[in-house]
Every structure is written in structure tokens, then in C-alpha cells.
């Protein structure tokens, strides 16, 4: 082999080796997480959008895909360990565990149960006792709104027989405006906002002011906690940072949400503003064991579960939020 050719070959080899070294040094691949959200894209998911946009998930090596399918699907998928996480309503965790789905609640995002009873001001329904002898419209006799409604009555000693509850589907705003019912049950950050936007003077009874039940939060499953607790820590840490940033700077969070919610204009800032007080807590994401007991009592009273869970404490944990509080 002639000398120039040998040099050329050597140079090529060195170049190839250099390329290989370069690929090896590239950043580790992000773990893809499909996260069932439980509702359509909405500014109330601002903490998650903020955490993506500011790179908090990426810093933890996570890539989040928002999945806006129904919450029951999310629970079943997490229960079967097909997905590691989902956002669900608290009472759903108890219902799921009653059917042996090994889901565990790791971050209480909504500190307040977000259901409220809304009525026109002229109806004079400003506290639960005022509902006696009145008609109340519910989307249906199932779901978080029904649980919230029964919890409210139960906590305030109003018998369900004293109130004329009606199923009206998801037509709360229309039914109330048309005067078909005296009050409606809906989400505290949705129906009241819509009614006020239409210039209606309304009274709002927040379920959370009367009873502390477990609301929306993040679940994982027992397998993920046992085999990959670090993954849970990473997701919780990044989410709490997004939550803290949203609480500290709602305007910025709303601007960020516009990239994630198609056609979002400034009119829905009120939804985010109505949500913020429900997220605030001395320890972000903390879940209170007592609220689990109360939620379970309401589900028992409603007949949605036949007996108390043998292991209610297994349904939730504060282990992951404790060490991952965002720095001030």
C-alpha cells in the first residue's frame, strides 16, 4: 500500500471514530409519557403547559404528550400498567380500587373539590339549606358533579328527598337561563364563569366550603412506584414547578396556554383565575388522609361502593410531593 493511501485511510478511520464518539455523547433520549388529561385542551391545564414550555419536564428527561380522552380510560390504562400516569378525579381512585385497579394518587392538584351549585341571584339560593323545596339540574346521576352534590347535602344535613334533583345533561347554562330549574350543578371554574360572562348575577355554593373531598390529581400504579419510583419523582417535580409558576404568574401561564389550546382568546382568562384559588396550598400537591375518608363515606352513602376499602391508605401517598417542592 502506498504511503499517501495509508494516510488517507488512517484519516478516514479517525474521522469515523470521531463521528461515533460524537453520537455517543449526544443527550440521553427523553422518556415519552402519554398523559390522559380527562378533559379537552383548556386553560385550566396551564400548569402542565408551563412545565412543558419552560423545559421542566425536559430537564427531568420527560417528553409529555397530552391525551384529552375521557378520564375512565386513563384510570383503566394506568390500572393495567399500560400507561404510568393520568389525571383523574379523586373519587374515581376509590371506585377504581374497589374494583381492584392498583392505582395510587400521588399529587393532589385541585385542593378544593371543584364542584359548585349555581343559581340566579334572584332565586335566593346562597347556602345549601336554601335548596330545600327547589329544583336542581345535574348532568346525570353519576360522575364528579353528582358526587359533589351528594357530598354537599350530606355535609349540611339536607336530605336528598327534600330537593328535586333532575338530570339535564350538559346543558346547565341553558337550563338555568331558561328557568327550567332553580339551580344547576357544575364546575366552579366553568359554569359560573360562563354565566357571569353573559351578564347574569349569580350565587355560587362551593362544595369545597362545606366538605373536603379529594379532587383532581395525578395517579400512577403500584408497579411503577415499586419498580421505577424515580420516574414518579421526576414527573411530580416538574409538574409542581409548573404549578408554582402558574400560581405566581397567571398572565404568563395564560399566554403559554394559547399555544396549547386551539383558538384560545383572552375571554377564558376568567377560567384560569377561578381555578387558581383551588390549587393553592401550604404544601403544593399535598393530599389529606381525612379528605379520603370523607370521600369514601360519600361514595358509601351513594351506594357506589358496597363496603369501605380494606386499604384506603394504599390509595394515596404524599411521599412524592414532600421531597419535590419547588424552590421559592
Amino acid at each position: 500500500m502506498s504511503r499517501p493511501l495509508t494516510i488517507l485511510l488512517l484519516a478516514l478511520l479517525l474521522f469515523a471514530a470521531g463521528c461515533a464518539a460524537e453520537t455517543a455523547e449526544a443527550p440521553a433520549e427523553l422518556t415519552h409519557i402519554r398523559l390522559p388529561m380527562g378533559f379537552v385542551a383548556d386553560p385550566q391545564y396551564a400548569p402542565f403547559y408551563v412545565a412543558v414550555e419552560k423545559g421542566y419536564y425536559a430537564e427531568e428527561g420527560l417528553e409529555i404528550e397530552f391525551d384529552y380522552s375521557f378520564e375512565t380510560d386513563g384510570i383503566a390504562l394506568v390500572g393495567a400498567n399500560e400507561l404510568p400516569f393520568a389525571i383523574v378525579s379523586g373519587e374515581q381512585v376509590i371506585l377504581a380500587r374497589a374494583q381492584e385497579l392498583p392505582v395510587v394518587y400521588v399529587l393532589e392538584w385541585f385542593q378544593d373539590f371543584p364542584i359548585a351549585v349555581v343559581s340566579k341571584e334572584e332565586a335566593g339560593i346562597s347556602e345549601p339549606q336554601d335548596l330545600i323545596g327547589r329544583s336542581v339540574g345535574l348532568p346525570g346521576f353519576f360522575g364528579a358533579s353528582y358526587v359533589g352534590y351528594v357530598g354537599l347535602l350530606s355535609a349540611t344535613g339536607v336530605s336528598p328527598d327534600e330537593v328535586a334533583a333532575e338530570e339535564i345533561g350538559f346543558t346547565q347554562v341553558e337550563s338555568l337561563l331558561a328557568g327550567q330549574v332553580d339551580a344547576v350543578v357544575g364546575y366552579a371554574n366553568n359554569e359560573p364563569v360562563q354565566l357571569r360572562a353573559q351578564g347574569e348575577a349569580i350565587d355560587v355554593i362551593h362544595v369545597a366550603h362545606y366538605i373536603d373531598m379529594v379532587a383532581n390529581g395525578i395517579i400512577t400504579n403500584e408497579t411503577t412506584i415499586a419498580e421505577n419510583p424515580e420516574l414518579v419523582h421526576r414527573l411530580v417535580r416538574a409538574t409542581l414547578r409548573g404549578l408554582a409558576d402558574t400560581l405566581a404568574n397567571p398572565e404568563e401561564a395564560y399566554e403559554i396556554s394559547k399555544q396549547y389550546v386551539e383558538g384560545l382568546d383572552d375571554s377564558r382568562m376568567a377560567v384560569l383565575e377561578a381555578s387558581l384559588p383551588m390549587w393553592e396550598a401550604p404544601v403544593l400537591g399535598h393530599t389529606d388522609p381525612k379528605s379520603w375518608e370523607r370521600t369514601q363515606d360519600v361514595l358509601l352513602e351513594m351506594g357506589l361502593i358496597d363496603a369501605p376499602l380494606a386499604d384506603l391508605e394504599g390509595a394515596y401517598t404524599n411521599d412524592f410531593i414532600r421531597d419535590n417542592q419547588p424552590e421559592e
Binding site: T72, I75, A76, A96, Q99, G169
Partner: protein, 256 residues
């Protein structure tokens, strides 16, 4: 195979049902599915006993049946004369059929919520969904049935100076009946789906659709299966009744 064919029908049905149960059990065991993902036949049977003995299943079933039956009868009652008109009048067919065909491109689930607003009665809005679903297959079969009557037979009737009424009663009805009844069979099974779609979108219904939604909410997949099997049983019963009717009405065919 030959020996199996000689057995009475109830025995072959029972064998096929048992095989189905075995296959189902095998899938749940071999697939390693959790009970809330795919319950086995035993779980579903147990849940069936619970809701059958506490009366819940019958209460919800009766409500659904009370929507299915008028849905099918009304759908049949509207589709049959309209089908006759379309088969007999080229002008009517030219005017109406584009819209009738185009209407089939509209998914009923999309307009069902609107129906509940348009029709004030919540019961009739659910029945109407069922009517819409059964209408088209019956209509098509009425037209196909009438078109299947050979021209020679019309010519024969004319040569015998038969009146329009006689042609209708002695030729068209008997000739179109087999195809019309086939359409009614399809409609009978579809009417159950129609009523269920109506129940999904229409509150105030306590039918099987309601039981299905609450079972899903409580993660009682075994109860979801009980509801699905009950719906299948209703569809089978409806189909069976039309088949009985068919056997009575078409007895003349067997004699030929």
C-alpha cells in the same frame, strides 16, 4: 359433522354456546387480563345473578324494550309506504332518493343530542333515534322487494284484468314479502342500537344505556358485559319474533 347436523337445534346451539364460553375463558386466562380489562364468564355470570336477583336488570331492560318496540314499529310504518311510493313513482324517487341516501352519511350520534332539544318529549326523542336507525334498511328492502316482481307476472295480472288493488294484494305483497321481512330482521337488530344511542345522549332515561354508563364509571367491567349480553339477547328476541312472523306469513312458499 354429519352427525352434528342430525342433532336437534337446541343441542347444537348449546354446544356452540359452550364452545364460545370456553374460548372466552381461554382468552382471559391465557391473555393474563385483569378482571377490569376483560372479565371471564364466571365473573360476568356472578354479576348477572346479582343484578338479576335485586331487580335492577329487569327494570332497566323494560325501559329499553319500551323504546325499542315503538322505534321498530314506527320505522317500519313510515319506511314501508314511502318505499312503495319510491318503487312505484320514478318522479318521487328522483325527487327524494338523493336526500334519503345523503341522510345516511350523517352519523346518528351527531344529531341525537339535537333531537333531544327539538323533540320536547324525552321518551319520544329516544324512540326517534331508533326510528332513524331502522328506517333506511327497511326502506331499501321494500323497494328491492317490489322491484323483484317479474314483469311477466304484471303482464299476466293485466291480461286477467286485475284491478290495482288486486295486483297489490295478490301479486306485489306476496312477491315482495320475503325481501321486506329480511329488511325487517335487520331493522329489528338495529333498533336496539338506536335506542341505546338515544339513551346515551338523553338524560332522564333509566334504560340499559344508563346502567352501562354507571357501570363504566364504577369500573365494573363485568356489569358492562352483563348489559352488552342483555342487549344482544333483546336483539336476538326481536329477530326471533320477526323470524316467527316470517314463517307464518311465508308458509305458502314451503308448500310450493
Amino acid at each position: 359433522m354429519e352427525r352434528l347436523r342430525e342433532q336437534p337445534i337446541w343441542l347444537t346451539t348449546a354446544i356452540s354456546f359452550l364452545l364460545l364460553l370456553l374460548l372466552w375463558e381461554a382468552v382471559t386466562v391465557l391473555g393474563g387480563y385483569d378482571r377490569f380489562i376483560l372479565p371471564g364468564p364466571a365473573d360476568v355470570g356472578q354479576q348477572f345473578l346479582i343484578v338479576a336477583t335485586d331487580g335492577r336488570l329487569w327494570r332497566h331492560t323494560l325501559i329499553t324494550v319500551s323504546e325499542v318496540v315503538p322505534g321498530l314499529l314506527l320505522g317500519f310504518g313510515i319506511a314501508t309506504p314511502l318505499g312503495y311510493l319510491l318503487a312505484k313513482s320514478p318522479l318521487a324517487e328522483r325527487l327524494l332518493s338523493p336526500y334519503l341516501i345523503a341522510s345516511q352519511a350523517i352519523p346518528v350520534i351527531a344529531i341525537a343530542p339535537l333531537l333531544t332539544i327539538w323533540v320536547r318529549s324525552t321518551f319520544w326523542s329516544r324512540v326517534l333515534v331508533s326510528v332513524i336507525v331502522v328506517f333506511f334498511p327497511i326502506l331499501i328492502n321494500v323497494i328491492a322487494g317490489l322491484r323483484s316482481v317479474p314483469t311477466e307476472l304484471y303482464e299476466l295480472m293485466h291480461s286477467l284484468r286485475a284491478s290495482q288493488w288486486q295486483i297489490f294484494r295478490k301479486l306485489e305483497v306476496p312477491a315482495a314479502l320475503p325481501i321486506l321481512l329480511a329488511g325487517l330482521k335487520v331493522g329489528a337488530t338495529l333498533s336496539v342500537i338506536g335506542a341505546l344511542v338515544g339513551e346515551f345522549v338523553q338524560p332522564k332515561s333509566q334504560g340499559l344505556g344508563y346502567l352501562l354508563v354507571t357501570a363504566r364509571y364504577q369500573f365494573k367491567t363485568d356489569l358492562v358485559f352483563v348489559v352488552l349480553l342483555t342487549l344482544a339477547a333483546i336483539a336476538l328476541a326481536m329477530y326471533g319474533m320477526v323470524a316467527l312472523l316470517e314463517r307464518r306469513l311465508l308458509r305458502w312458499q314451503e308448500n310450493e
